[in-house]
């Protein structure tokens, strides 16, 4: 689809939604991938006294025959709206629809209002540092957002394309084992970690929750040390809420500020307190288990990127370099496992 044609379709879509009539202009491409692109648009409302605003459109080519290979952005939009309605800071969903097929694949689009703030992790950390008590403020904001997300009744999720994936800790462990078995090389540290995780499965959550799946420094828009919006809902699923809290605190997302367990800006004690204050239920055994499981998953993911480079599926230098970062995750894992073998 040409950009002009696309713009016409997006404008029609915006105007069929309940936001008043707007005319759109293309601002710039934010990301472009094989079957996913993100563009920034300027929307000028028809009413003379309304100010123009910026919007972000995510477009995916989605082969409906291979549903499940790519998450539908329509479903992503449904979850984001539901989270927003329950008090989780998100980018407001303006429209979500399947566009008429013009190319080889149908295109799905999700348009959200642009949220102003920092997302690049080191800039987030710098900006939070400039606000008095900023680290604690952002930690409170994150703890509250996750408590509200996890309080949502999964039955309220109204997806269009397919149900959200659901998994338990045991299912996740099977998934990790499969990912490890699929790697061409041998990685005894990950095998060891999986063995310990299987030996020590966590308590079941009191109820299955909506889990963001990628809630961490880098996917958070931060303004004045508050969470302005949680981004990247592609991995949303039903499962154990402690998975989100563990992932937020992974060492990888601290960007070198290791004594601030929460994304390099907050302390674990504060996160636990704020999460519980807002109604979340903290289960330490599950937090510890998911910290190990997600660290292993990330390490196996880096090894998979390196394998893609080695066998010629990728020519990215970043993927080649990932192979030499695997040991960092092994180091973290063995530190986390030290208490479990004593």
């Amino acid at each position: 689809m040409t950009d002009e044609r696309l713009l016409v379709e997006l404008e029609k879509l915006m105007n069929s939604a309940d936001h008043g009539s707007v005319s759109l202009t293309f601002d710039r491409e934010l990301t472009a991938g094989a079957n996913r692109r993100t563009i920034r648009l300027v929307a000028a409302p028809a009413e003379a006294d309304a100010a123009p605003f910026t919007a972000v459109a995510q477009l995916i080519e989605r082969d409906v025959e291979r549903a499940g290979a790519t998450r539908s952005v329509l479903d992503e939009g449904a979850v984001v709206s539901l989270a927003g309605a329950n008090g989780v800071p998100v980018a407001e969903v303006l429209a979500a629809a399947r566009l008429p097929a013009v190319g080889s694949q149908p295109v799905e689009v999700l348009i959200t209002r642009e949220v102003v703030g920092e997302t690049i992790p080191r800039r987030v950390l710098r900006s939070v540092g400039e606000v008095d008590g900023g680290g604690r403020t952002l930690t409170r904001s994150c703890g509250r957002a996750l408590a509200r997300l996890h309080a949502i009744d999964p039955a309220a999720v109204d997806v269009v394309a397919e149900p959200l994936p659901a998994f338990t800790a045991g299912d996740y462990l099977d998934h990790l084992t499969q990912r490890l078995d699929d790697l061409p090389g041998r990685h005894p540290t990950f095998r060891f970690a999986i063995g310990r995780l299987g030996h020590d499965l966590p308590s079941d959550p009191p109820a299955r929750s909506v889990v963001h799946g990628d809630f961490r420094n880098g996917n958070l828009i931060v303004a004045d040390a508050e969470l302005a919006a949680a981004l990247d809902w592609e991995l949303v699923h039903l499962g154990d809420p402690m998975e989100d809290l563990a992932w937020l605190c992974l060492r990888t997302w601290r960007f070198g500020i290791d004594d601030r367990e929460v994304g390099g800006f907050g302390t674990l004690d504060d996160l636990r307190r704020f999460y519980v204050e807002d109604g979340g239920r903290w289960r330490q055994d599950a937090f510890d288990w998911w910290t190990i499981a997600r660290t292993a998953w990330w390490g196996i993911g880096l090894a998979a990127q390196a394998a893609a480079f080695v066998d010629g599926r990728s020519d990215s230098l970043v993927h080649a370099a990932s192979g030499r970062r695997v040991v960092e995750l092994e180091y973290d894992l063995l530190g986390l496992l030290a208490d479990r073998v004593g």
């Binding site: 005894p188 540290t189 230098l317 370099a321 530190g335």
Partner: protein
């Protein structure tokens, strides 16, 4: 235990990236996107060169130490790093009832310390600062 891509593949990857992205950007210095991408590539390439320089010095001894540890752990008198790594992985996969978990942890941790000293020495958390969690 065995880091991939190996030095040979990584050096070729660095050379390709320098001859590709970086040289193209030098030919189009007015394109900010190309210059930005080249800056990013050059930083990664430089870091990989430093890793490979450390590996050239410390790699052989690190590998020999891990081989010795693995032979002791598995009760073997010979075997290459590749064979021993595979043997340990198989044992762990099948449940490894007869392996002392503390011993396995110690061997893995010593190997990781040596590889981390090559890949990213600054990542190590010093003992006097306490454990990471």
């Amino acid at each position: 235990m065995i880091d991939r891509p190996d030095a040979h593949r990584l050096l070729n990857a660095v050379a390709d990236a320098l001859a590709g992205d970086v040289v193209s950007a030098l030919s189009s210095p007015s394109d900010p996107d190309m210059v930005g991408a080249a800056r990013y590539t050059a930083r990664i390439a430089a870091n990989l060169c430093r890793i490979l320089a450390r590996e050239a010095v410390a790699g052989p001894e690190a590998e020999a130490s891990t081989v010795a540890d693995l032979r002791a752990l598995l009760g073997r008198e010979d075997g290459s790093l590749e064979e021993l790594t595979e043997a340990l992985d198989e044992l762990l996969r099948s449940g490894a009832a007869d392996l002392d978990q503390r011993q396995v942890h110690r061997v893995l941790a010593a190997d990781v310390e040596r590889r981390l000293a090559i890949a990213r020495p600054s990542y190590r958390i010093d003992a006097d600062r306490g454990s990471m969690s």
